[in-house]
């Protein structure tokens, strides 16, 4: 990978830091009038998700990280790995449970996800923003109770549990926002 000097730092740039791929969130130029210039950088460690702050001497270079985001279709899991396919080349990638992370509870086969590849292997998976899933377990619905507030937990076919209105029943298909985990509406 190419090296990037501090004057090329900008948010979104992916760099290697202490052996881990990181993404720059913020970059600030600091210089005491008579002193060494430096760059204060806020980065997200793409493996752990942790945000860290580092200060580098201006002019210093860091190695770029071989990281890229790609749309891929989720195929299946075999108990050990989750398999994703590039839509153009049909090339398949196996992701560990760690890489799939929280996306796990939303994934249905055929879903198109954003898979972040690091050195060619999946590092993280972002599920579609909205998914439609069937309720497999919830308290019996209260028919006609469509106006009142109030909610109850419902378990979905992929394993996630979300809060839904009281009138919904087992077998109903609902739309959920995976970024917030919130119920959006009934599909049928």
């Amino acid at each position: 990978m190419a090296n990037y000097s501090t004057n090329e730092f900008r948010s979104g740039l992916k760099l290697m830091l202490d052996g881990d791929p990181c993404s720059i969130l913020e970059n600030e130029f600091v210089k005491p009038g008579k002193g060494q210039a430096f760059n204060r950088v806020k980065l997200r460690n793409l493996k752990s998700g942790r945000v860290l702050e580092k200060t580098f001497k201006s002019g210093e270079s860091l190695e770029g990280a071989d990281v890229m985001d790609m749309d891929m279709q989720y195929l299946y899991n075999d108990g050990d790995f989750w398999y994703f396919m590039e839509p153009e080349s049909f090339e398949q990638h196996q992701a560990t449970e760690n890489a799939v992370g929280d996306a796990l509870q939303w994934l249905s086969e055929q879903d198109v996800c954003v898979v972040t590849l690091y050195n060619g292997s999946p590092l993280s998976v972002v599920p579609p923003n909205h998914v439609e899933l069937e309720i497999v377990e919830t308290d019996p619905g209260l028919r006609g109770d469509t106006a009142q507030g109030g909610s109850k937990p419902a378990r979905l076919s992929t394993g996630a549990t979300v809060k839904v209105p009281l009138f919904l029943d087992q077998g109903d298909v609902i739309k959920v926002d995976t970024r917030t985990g919130e119920y959006q509406g009934r599909v049928k």
Binding site: N7, D18, E28, F29, V30, K31, P32, G33, K34, G35, Q36, A37, F38, R40, K54, T55, F56, K57, S58, E60
Partner: protein
Amino acid sequence: MDNWQSGSSLEGLKQRAELLAALRDFFRQRAVMEVDVPLLGRSSVTDINIESISAVVSGNSGYLQTSPEYFLKRLLASGAGDIYCLGKAFRDGESGGRHNPEFTLLEWYRLGWDEHQLMDELAELIQPLFVAQDKPMATVKMTYAEAFTSVLGLDPQDTALVNLQELAVVHGSASWADESRSNCLDLLFSLCVEPQLPAGLVFIYDYPACQSALAQIHSNDKGQLVSRRFEAFINGMELANGYFELTDAVEQARRFASDVQQRAQAGQSEVPVDKHLLDALEAGMPACAGVALGVDRLLMQLQSAGSIAEIMPFSWDRC
């Protein structure tokens, strides 16, 4: 898009005009003469932390001046008396929330004064500007060591270099493990001490001897060598840098030579030493104190602006 327009509001431009007039007024009343020195010179600073912007002048190399300092000192040696310059300065590679490669600098010299008298005058210049905006400020003075020790619990000069490097690695990154004392101090002061400085106008003086630049050196009451240099901060933002000036041509030539050597070692561009300045010091520069103040930074504080681009008509992005 709308980059053809001014980054500053029209009201902001008016405040800038009023500030420039107020600064000139202040010095006129005190009989300090304005001098209009070149922005383009045949040599420039050798300071390892300041990069000049090069120009080509009729086929010869020239430099946009990083401050009017050397020209002003040549005038002092010529007998000009108390003088000031209010104009532009240029520094390559400096761009950010508080930096623009071209900026407005106010620099002045007082004959027979020391750095403490000059700090007092700086306060007399600054305070009324903020009072006029109903933003009166406290003025605080402390030594570099006091400020440093109160936040980090360490003496900046007695602490072993390896301990400063360890601390710099913790607060900065692994890249500080082999850095010089001066660079480690700069990092720790900027990152840890500056944010903790009291609000208002703060003077930090008696810098460690390794950060002398063009200041004289003396012993403090602990017997440590400290430089007779000060900096002014407003609400934690660096505003001005001043010295009880070095007038010794031999010592100045030694510091230039050391700069040139360090630049070569670091692979930095070669800058010709300003021989006219050395000749001027040789001829005799009167004892004086001098200070340079960032006018754009002062406007940022007066207008409570978040970035320097908001108070400049056209920052480099719009040029």
